[in-house]
Symmetry: C2
Subunit: 757 residues, 2 copies
């Protein structure tokens, strides 16, 4: 098959970069001192039996982070980032991940390497078998498994351009077989570039000698973990491949097919035996060492290069010699065992291969990063630029263990820097980031259907749920949020059910509203637009205003909406009750932006200090907003007789804003636990009257220590159908309430029973 000609077809070319990717990254859990942990797999991750993202590999200390199948390299790295974030923040205190393929110092006694405590007995048995056959120490090496599938758009179009092969499945299988053969022949080039296990730590080689000198890749060398030499299969056709595998199992050379540890695995269906039916769907590269310089063990550049290399290997002519693969393996062993700072014996061959690759890029006009090509070129010419070379040089500065510990710690710290965010999904709303964190942690499958629209799909096996904006779900009805979105309707429904709401009226013209002035002239009132939010256009008159002021308030409100509400003013403190599934899970008091004087610092200094809180940020990318010192705040200070340079006395609270919105620098104070039950019951029944399952309902309460049944004890201001959650999870003070976990519990009661688990 002339694959080169097929790739050059006009309607094939736009799809050369289309592929599907998946990564499995293994890693040892270590203490912050770089020692293998003695703890079990983190409890916070729930039951590992069904966890799609975070598993244990051979040993109980060895986590395996698994991405879902991704349609692009950025998507792959967003999942890698998120899964790493979740893993780090789910580890026991003072634990982190070891950034190297070679394990840290191992126990002196092999038995002290603890096998993964898996639920299924067959999984335990298999690990026992491996321990016996290969030894536990070798199993402690970690690496990257890279799953790669050519885009269906690409293969379909290639298939359509040829007539030689009539069957699409066979066509695909042939493509992957050729790539696999060539990869096995030329994987030494990848080992040269990306090999990164030059040194071992104590107790890795026990009873058997290791290499005397540092190497490029212990893991890929004959010192690594591999099948015995008599395990060999043919790759010329799929039936041969399967036949050979089966034969080896029958001969007892392998315990089962999955024990075959080739650098490339052919994949399709769930089991090896499915391949015969469904053909090859993708291949799994297993020879990649952890890249210590990449926080996730592999970099985007490496993935892009691998994609390019596999496409190149598809068109590259094969050496027809039937021993080509065997030769490739020998070469790979040579390269693996070369000194990391030494030129390779195959440098010239590498240069020729790279020149051929560049020609391939030119011919296909593929869009490849110049920088990436430059890096590869340099690494070929200068072995100190290879991963092994770079890491060996760094390890020499102190010891490999110290350097690895330092680098591991820096990755751990990065994950904890903004614990309210989720790496990879930082452009989404905070509440959604926290929800996704919790979902990944508890082993729900996460699929972002529309990032900008905050639309996600969560699933646990067959059970699928959709969530928008973190708490819009299938558990609420269509109409309940529509009721809450309409202030007039909300009030009518609540009043019908016997709840206290501010009296008042709705007006559709200024004239109509002004004519009603006298109806409100015997108490304080509020003028507000009917539907707009965020406090825009609202005027509050605690006492009856002059008519001119009323007229102005009406004008301001109509500037925001075509209808306005005039409502009785209810004096008291406003609390947000977050109700979910018939329970109050959080109560929040919001206080306007303020600083408390210490008799020493100026207001400006106090503001700056308060803004240092890592919970404060800008543009809603943190649970609290920074306090501004703009015109509005200065005016507010002036009215109180202050300037920004004034030094308030110790203990004096200075307010910088009238409104209590968190979005203008206000404080969020969790008061959930100190609230009397009767108000909680009230909030629960009001939300029930609205027919809602999730609601943030705002109550004005003059004195929460008075019974809720007293006349004037409360008034309900509004109910929010998509209430913010991040401000409850990370409040300014008081306990954080992990409402996102409550949402997941509501959606997946079969998975999440206790919030702590």
């Amino acid at each position: 098959m002339d694959y080169r000609a097929l790739l050059l077809e006009g309607n094939v070319q736009p799809f050369l970069w289309k592929a599907r990717y998946g990564i499995e990254r293994e890693s040892q859990r270590v203490t912050e001192a770089g020692q293998l942990v003695a703890t079990d797999h983190p409890k916070a991750l729930g039951n590992r039996t069904y966890h799609p993202y975070i598993q244990t590999d051979f040993a109980e200390t060895q986590v395996e982070l698994i991405t879902p199948v991704c349609q692009s390299i950025p998507e792959l790295f967003r999942y890698l980032a998120a899964i790493h974030d979740v893993c780090y923040r789910s580890l026991e205190d003072k634990e982190m991940l070891w950034p190297l393929s070679m394990p840290p110092r191992l126990p002196q006694k092999e038995e002290e390497i603890r096998l993964a405590k898996l639920e299924k007995f067959e999984d335990v048995l298999y690990r026992r078998y491996l321990a016996k056959t290969y030894g536990r120490r070798k199993q402690m090496m970690s690496g990257i498994h890279f799953n790669f599938e050519f885009g269906d758009e690409l293969l379909q179009r290639m298939f359509a351009q040829q007539t030689e092969e009539k069957d699409y499945q066979q066509f695909k299988t042939d493509v992957y077989l050729k790539v696999t053969r060539n990869y096995l022949s030329y994987r030494w080039f990848i080992t040269y570039l990306f090999g990164a296990s030059p040194l071992s730590e104590p107790n890795f080689f026990v009873g058997a000698a290791g290499p005397k000198e540092p190497v490029r890749s212990l893991r890929n060398s004959s010192f690594g973990y591999k099948n015995h030499d008599d395990v060999q299969v043919r790759y010329d056709t799929l039936p041969h491949y399967l036949e050979d595998l089966q034969q080896m199992v029958e001969d007892g050379k392998l315990s089962e097919e999955k024990e075959f540890y080739s650098s490339v695995r052919l994949r399709g269906g769930k089991k090896v035996s499915d391949l015969e039916q469904v053909g090859i769907h993708y291949i799994e590269l297993r020879n990649l060492d952890l890249n210590p310089f990449a926080p996730y063990g592999i970099s985007e550049e490496q993935v892009a290069f691998l994609h390019l290399y596999l496409l190149f290997l598809l068109v590259k002519e094969e050496v027809t010699d039937e021993k080509a693969i065997k030769k490739g393996s020998l070469k790979n062993n040579v390269v693996s065992l070369e000194h990391p700072l030494q030129e390779s014996a195959y440098q010239e061959e590498a240069k020729a291969l790279f020149a051929e690759l560049k020609t391939f890029i030119q011919t296909t006009r593929m869009d490849v990063s110049e920088e990436l090509l430059e890096q590869v070129q340099q690494a070929i010419e200068d072995p100190t630029k290879t991963l092994a070379g770079r890491w060996y040089q760094q390890a020499k500065q102190q010891t490999q263990a110290k350097e690895a510990t330092a680098i591991g710690k820096s990755y751990e710290q990065k994950a904890w820097e903004k614990p309210y965010q989720l790496a990879g999904f930082r452009s989404m709303e905070l509440s959604t980031q926290i929800l996704l964190f919790d979902a990944i942690q508890k082993g729900l499958s996460v699929n972002v259907l529309d990032e900008e629209d905050q639309f996600v799909q969560l699933s646990a096996q067959e059970h699928v749920e959709y969530v928008k904006n973190a708490n819009m779900t299938s558990k609420d009805t269509y109409i309940a949020p529509l009721i809450m979105a309409n202030k007039t309707v909300t009030k009518k429904v609540l009043a019908q059910a016997g709840f206290v709401v501010p009296s008042g009226g709705e007006y559709e013209s200024e004239e109509q509203a002004l004519a009603a002035f006298h109806e409100y002239s015997d108490h304080g009132f509020v003028v507000k637009p009917k539907t707009t939010n965020y406090g825009l256009g609202i005027s509050i008159f605690k006492d009856t205003p002059a008519f001119a002021d009323f007229r102005e308030a009406v004008r301001i409100a109509f500037a925001e909406d075509t209808a306005i509400l005039i409502e009785e003013f209810l004096p008291g403190t406003e609390y947000r009750f977050f109700v979910i599934d018939g329970q109050v899970k959080a109560i929040l008091l919001r206080v306007p932006a303020n600083v408390v004087g210490d008799g020493v610092h100026s207001i400006a200094e106090l503001v700056a200090e308060k803004n240092n809180d890592p919970l404060r940020g800008t543009n809603h990318r943190a649970p609290l907003e920074c306090i501004q010192l703009g015109d509005l705040e200065k005016l507010m200070l002036k009215e109180q007789g202050y300037t920004p340079t004034a030094v308030p006395e110790e203990g004096v609270t200075v307010y910088l804003r009238e409104n209590s919105n968190v979005s203008t620098g206000g404080d969020s104070i969790d008061v959930t636990d100190e609230f009397p039950e009767d108000y909680k019951e009230l909030a629960i029944s009001a939300v029930a009257a609205l027919g809602a399952v999730i609601s943030g309902i705002d109550l004005i309460i003059p004195d929460k220590n008075q019974p809720a049944s007293n006349p004037g004890a409360y008034g309900i201001i509004e109910a929010n159908f998509n209430p913010a959650m991040h401000m409850h999870v990370f409040p300014y003070s008081g306990a954080g309430q992990r409402l996102t976990m409550d949402v997941l519990k509501l959606l997946f009661p079969e998975r999440i029973k206790e919030i702590g688990q």
Copy 2:
């Protein structure tokens, strides 16, 4: 109590026009020839046992239309209008309502007057008793019962301004007792103005002589239907009133308390005996004749005048004479029996009363229509301007029966003029109007919570449901419509479930979209904004376009939204499937605006003729829009070689638009019954995959006679979460599908089991 002083208090005055109203209007069903019908109460109205709006009074032919309690006069008349509309359009073919208080010609034999066929045996027994006691003929008179309650805001403020009475309930009771006494004393004035039963029809007076001359109000006179003379009660205190009533029941003068037919009834609680506990809540005026000039038997001006009059009677000094009420009744009888064109014996007294009323208006500065006062003034001076005078004059022109028949017919025709609208609610969306029609027809209580927002509350006893935009309900989940609102998410969910959707991608910048051009260059495609609707910004390329055209399409789409979709073009016909509760209830084909030539008329003439269809209107106030002949249409004609004056050949269809939207003059063609089942199953399962209960799902189908399972048999374009219903109920051609009734059936299965009923 000095009520005048209380009313004049500054904080009381703004509330003088605040009140609650309710009307019961009785009417005889007649044929279009003006004869009493022989049919039963209309089946379309469902079970009358619980119908809140349309009941039967004494006779099976006598409907009673009942408004709910209303907060304003406009609200009262919107319900009157709507209930009348529903009643007219629910009557058997060629039936209508008799517009007079006096019944049409009655059967010669009294037994042929059929008692109402009520379910409850006690109700039947009561009617039998009445028939025996008063005779069936008198029970055939109809009238208006007017329920009136002063606004609570008004009474509360009056109460707060005085110290004499400590108990609010007693204060209210005293208010209504005084108004009642004065109303009984001065009701002759209302009879003079609004009496409207001057003449009887054959067989009303049988065995007893009627008056020899025409009168003002037969119904209010001694010839009318009233208790026997020995039925008298005291109105000085509530205990006296109740004591007297009870005594008369005990003495056998009344069968039960409700047999007491005063011109004013004191109301509060469900039964008369509740009054003792709860006090008087409102009063019911029972002396109003049907006004033949008002389509609903009473006009807004009459209601406003009654409100004013009752307030005036509250402050008017009472004649302390204990026989004042008796005297008032005698006067009323005199006025009732005066010739309608003759000056009243009490004309001077009427003038004085009116002068006093005008002074009252001036003192209280109440806002009263000048026109209304002018009309009353004229009627006082000129009896031909009273209702009785006007009607008597009209009746003389031919006969009363003929005039009444003509006027009844005109009201009936009005109700049928736009059968897709509901009087009183015409500013709401058509689908909501039709839904409200159906709800009222089937006896669901209807409460419009927010008119502009199309938000209604429906209830059947304790069962309450909320509906927005006619089909947004509690039966759908919150998330399903959010899925449908997002085209990308919809496609992903459908594709995951195995349905065919157009392939394509989403792009967030022009650059990104333009770079993808080559991916689409081997088939036709559509460029469209991601979220906006109504077909704006969409470009359809049935074949691959030139790059410049593609660039223009991308620009146009981005002008509408921040993200666009590029989608494979699917050739075929687009059908809208309306799915509700797992069933396809309607399938619609939409055809672009067009006319079919006849070889005689010009295109402009054909358009004008087609626009004559009563189903066509403008601004979405009709199920179909008028076809325009604007620039776009002329351009379209030009491209086909036509001008508006061109005369197309017979049978030739000329299209005036490219798009098939009904909103631009397109035709809606119902094809529900001719569609194969497999496509219906497909639509049902696609909607189920989206988790929706109600959805309008759009399928492209090249040939509906090919099995839906064939490759390329269909593609799903989008799913609508609030699909229009009116176009299915009143299509351009094909059967109408009453989807609104399906919605009600979904919400109230206990009430609506079969759509036909």
